[in-house]
Structure formats: structure tokens, C-alpha cells
Amino acid sequence: MIDEGVDQLQGTQAVEARALGRTFKGGVQAVREIDLTVARGEVFGFLGPNGAGKTTTVRMLCTLLPPSGGSATVAGIDVVVDPAEVRRRIGVALQEIGLDPVQTGRELLELQCGLYGITGGDARVRTGELLELVGLKDAADRRTKTYSGGMKRRLDLASALVHSPEVLFLDEPTTGLDPASRLTVWDEVRRINEAGTTVFLTTQYLEEADQLCDRLAIIDDGRIVSEGTPERLKAEIGRDVVTLALDGADARATEAALGELAGLERVVAETDALALYLEDGAGSIAEIVRRLDREEIRVGAIAVARPSLDDVFLQATGRRLEGAEEEQAA
């Protein structure tokens, strides 16, 4: 039943936003005139640290928050002009797991079916299918307050699927989950997408974006700073990344010592490290060591790696994603 209605998106984009923005009271610009296009059938990722504007964007696209500026359509429907029709066509699982703790899993799904016009025997059948899909058949008649975090997330996911939505919005679907539960949710997302549903997911996990998304946009401080397939984004920033652990060595002196290294595209200073983006990382190691020796600069470990999404994030924003999270937490 999951693929019902998916074809209705034929000829339109699943999500289209133009200069979409949201300014809160007090003048805080959470989202700043972003442009987005998500094709039907895609798993589209919205990657960024806490406070970057991911949730605000999702809430606007889900009609939970009106935009302050710009426009957006979801499943071809304008979110401001006809929010009720948008809600009929989308499924939503927000960051806060939206479950009623007093109800059982089965009651919650049957109620959710009812709210989407699926009643009686149809609701019972659909509920059974979804409980099976997310592996909660055995726990179906327990109150949701007794569920583990992973079970709650899976039930929340199931509740977003009762009406076989054309577009599924998942706001940080694995935040707070243990690694095993995270993998289970990834499998569910893949399965839902394979059945034809477009998935728009936000995440602050690089691996999640890399593993799940056909395309992604990196958002920072309310702006989209980079967009493309994970492979293209990684390819755009150069072939290899050589990281020099400074271990107290002066960053400027180290960078100066490297001089005009062959194939070096750019150098990014990090906390007690330098990231060198160059064509041939392994082949450049000897030359790097030679030049540092010549200037009597002692560094720690030297590591060569293929570019990751973290490097993409670093290039786009000037800092690492994990570092940004720590800043937020602090």
C-alpha cells in the first residue's frame, strides 16, 4: 500500500522552494531566502548543525510554520495557499517523537488512520501492515510509554505512513538513537523510498547523509552553502585530504613552510591541525615531510584520506560539523 499515490507527483517536483525565509520575533533570521528543489523519488538530505535552520525549513514545508518570505510547493501544492491539501499529501515525523504515551501502538496508528480518513476495517488492516513493516507487531497492544527510544521512533515513522504519503519529511530521524536502532531506521527509510515515496530528511550526522541521500544540501546559519550528490560534493573539493596534526607547531609557519606544493589546492586551518586539499595525497607526503624538516618544524601525525562530507562542510563553512555541534552544546 505504501506506493499508492506516489505517481500523483508525475510532472512536478516533490519540493520546490524559492527565496524561502523565516524571521522570528526579535528579528532572528532562522532561514534566509533559500532555494530548494527535490525531485520525486529522491532521498534528499538537509545537513547542518543544531540551529542551522533545518527544523524551521521542515516546519515551513509541512505547513506548521508560515514563511516570512518567498514561496514553497510540496507535491505541487503551495504551502501557504492550500496547506490542508499539502497535509493530505505528506507524512511527517518531527525531531520530537510525536506519540501519545497513554495510547497503545495499535490505538495510535488506528487513530492516525482515522485522521486521514481511513476508518473501520481499512484502518485495522493498514495498522496491521504498518506494525509488521516496522517490526512492532508484538508490542502493538502495549502503551507507547513503555517503548524504547528505537521503538518509539519506528512507531512515529509508521504513523507518518498511514496514508501512503507522496512526500515523507523526517526531521533528524535518528538523533538520540543507539547505533543498532539507527541502522534499523535507515533500512526503513530505504524501504519506504524504494516503494516510491520521496523522502526529505534533515540530519546532523555525516554518515547518515552519506549513506541515505541521493542528494543533499548543506545549511549553515539559515543559508544553503552547498548542494549536490554526496559524491559530487566530495569530488568538488579535490582528490585527497592530508591532515597534519600540529602538536603545538605554529600553523602559519607550517603553512608557509609548505610553500607552493605541487597539486595543493587549498589549506584550511583547524584546531591544532592543518587540512591540505591536494591532488595526490600519498605521493605528496615525502615532499611535505622534506619541506617541514627544512624549516625545522615538528608536527605530529600525518594522515591521508579521501574527502568526506565533513571536508565538504569544512570547505563550505570554514569549520567542521562536529565542532559546530560542540559550540552549540557549549
Partner: protein, 251 residues
């Protein structure tokens, strides 16, 4: 309409699943009934003119009914759902936002009927009798419950406006002055001039007077009409404000 029924059924189901939220709320009205009656029964014996030949419990019964039904239960349930994210889930569904409020009010009606029935039975057990008969008892319970439905709008309004559990939880305290600036212990005429003026300006006084008339006097249509008028007006105003608050929530 279907969505109102579905959400009502869910909210009513909560009552049986969360007895700890309902039972303590009944303790206060039963406590006041027992203590007030126990303390002043000697002062106001059955021969007291305004008691109509009944014990003081008949006079106090409507006050306890007010206490039983005027709760912030729905507001608390709503603010809890705002807090845990389920409220967003409901807002994201293709339903009218008003159905969320009406679902909650349906639970208040059921809770009000249950609570006022318990208090009425306690009052009857303590010696009160319904001058208006069985039908009067039914009307007494229904009017009390309807007043609870109207009053619930206040807790819902606070929940939607503040999104704060503590603020919603303490909102029912507003009811105390409204309940005590009334002819709750003695009739209007026996109050001091200032208290009488305040009580006459307080609409809750007319709800108590109407309910009390069913217990002590029988069918006094003027008092009953005023009681119904205030109850309906309160319900229309507070429910209307709640509907506006949910319609403009995050808008």
C-alpha cells in the same frame, strides 16, 4: 465531525487510563464539603431560613460541585502534548484545528459528569435531598459538567498561549477568588455590603445560585435561567478564545 469523535474518544480513554489525574482532583471538593458542613452545621441548623428545612450540606453542595468540575485537566493534557511533540503531529494532520479543542472538551464533559455525580452522591449521603427530584439531579449534574466544559477553555487558553506546564497547572488557582467572592457560605443578603457588591458582580455567583435552587427550592426558572446563561456565556467566550488561540498557533 469524524475527527472530533476520534479525538474525543482518545481524550475520554485517557480518563480511565490516568485515574491518578482525576481522583485527586475529587479530593478537594469532597474535603471542602465535609469540613465546611462539619464546621458550621451547628451555626446553621435546619431551621435556618435560607436552608429550606435542609441541613447546611444542601447549601454547600453546589460549591463543591464547582470545585469538582473547574479543573485545568484539559489544559494540562494539551500542554503535555505540546511538550512531547504529539500536538505537532495533530497539527500536521489534515484535520481542522478546532477538532483538537472539541476533543478535549468532550473529555471535560465526561470528567465533569463523573466528578459531579460523585460529589452529588456524597452530598446525598451526608443528608441533602434534591427538592427538584431525580430530573433536577440530572440537570444539576449536567449543568455542573457544562460549567466545567466552559471553564476548561481557560486552561486550554493558558496552555496554548504559554506552552508552559507550570503556568497551565497553576491556572486553576484563578478559580479560587471567583468561587469565594460568591454567596458560597451564606446568601447575598447576609454578606457585608462590600462582599455582596463583589458577589453580585461575579457571574459564578449566579451559577451557584442556580444549582443551589435545584437542591433547596425546586424549579426556580429565573435562577436556573441565569445559571444557564452564565454557563453558556462562559463556554462561548472561553471556547471561542481557545479556538482563536489554536487557529493562530505558530501563525
Amino acid at each position: 465531525m469524524n475527527e472530533v469523535l476520534l479525538l474525543s474518544r482518545r481524550a475520554v480513554r485517557e480518563i480511565s487510563r490516568y485515574p491518578e489525574a482525576t481522583i485527586p482532583a475529587l479530593f478537594i471538593p469532597l474535603f471542602f464539603l465535609a469540613v465546611n458542613v462539619g464546621q458550621v452545621s451547628e451555626t446553621f441548623p435546619e431551621t435556618t431560613p435560607f436552608l429550606g428545612g435542609q441541613g447546611y450540606v444542601a447549601f454547600q453542595l453546589p460549591v463543591s460541585l464547582m470545585f469538582a468540575v473547574a479543573t485545568a485537566s484539559s489544559g494540562l493534557a494539551l500542554v503535555t502534548e505540546i511538550d512531547n511533540g504529539y500536538f505537532d503531529k495533530l497539527l500536521a494532520a489534515p484535520i481542522r484545528r478546532s477538532s483538537i479543542i472539541f476533543g478535549r472538551l468532550a473529555a471535560d464533559l465526561v470528567r465533569g459528569i463523573l466528578g459531579s455525580t460523585v460529589v452529588l452522591v456524597a452530598g446525598l449521603a451526608l443528608g441533602a435531598h434534591m427538592e427538584s427530584g431525580v430530573l433536577g439531579a440530572v440537570v444539576l449534574v449536567l449543568l455542573s459538567a457544562l460549567f466545567g466544559v466552559g471553564y476548561a477553555g481557560f486552561g486550554i487558553l493558558v496552555a496554548l498561549r504559554t506552552r508552559n506546564v507550570q503556568a497551565t497547572n497553576t491556572s486553576f488557582l484563578l478559580f479560587f477568588p471567583l468561587l469565594f467572592l460568591t454567596p458560597n457560605f451564606v446568601p447575598f443578603e447576609r454578606l457585608t455590603p462590600l462582599m455582596e457588591a463583589l458577589a453580585r458582580a461575579n457571574p459564578v455567583s449566579y451559577v451557584i445560585e442556580g444549582l443551589r435552587s435545584l437542591v433547596i427550592e425546586g424549579w426556580d426558572l429565573d435562577k436556573l435561567g441565569a445559571c444557564i446563561g452564565v454557563t453558556v456565556a462562559l463556554g462561548v467566550v472561553l471556547t471561542g478564545l481557545s479556538l482563536r488561540a489554536i487557529a493562530t498557533y505558530d501563525r
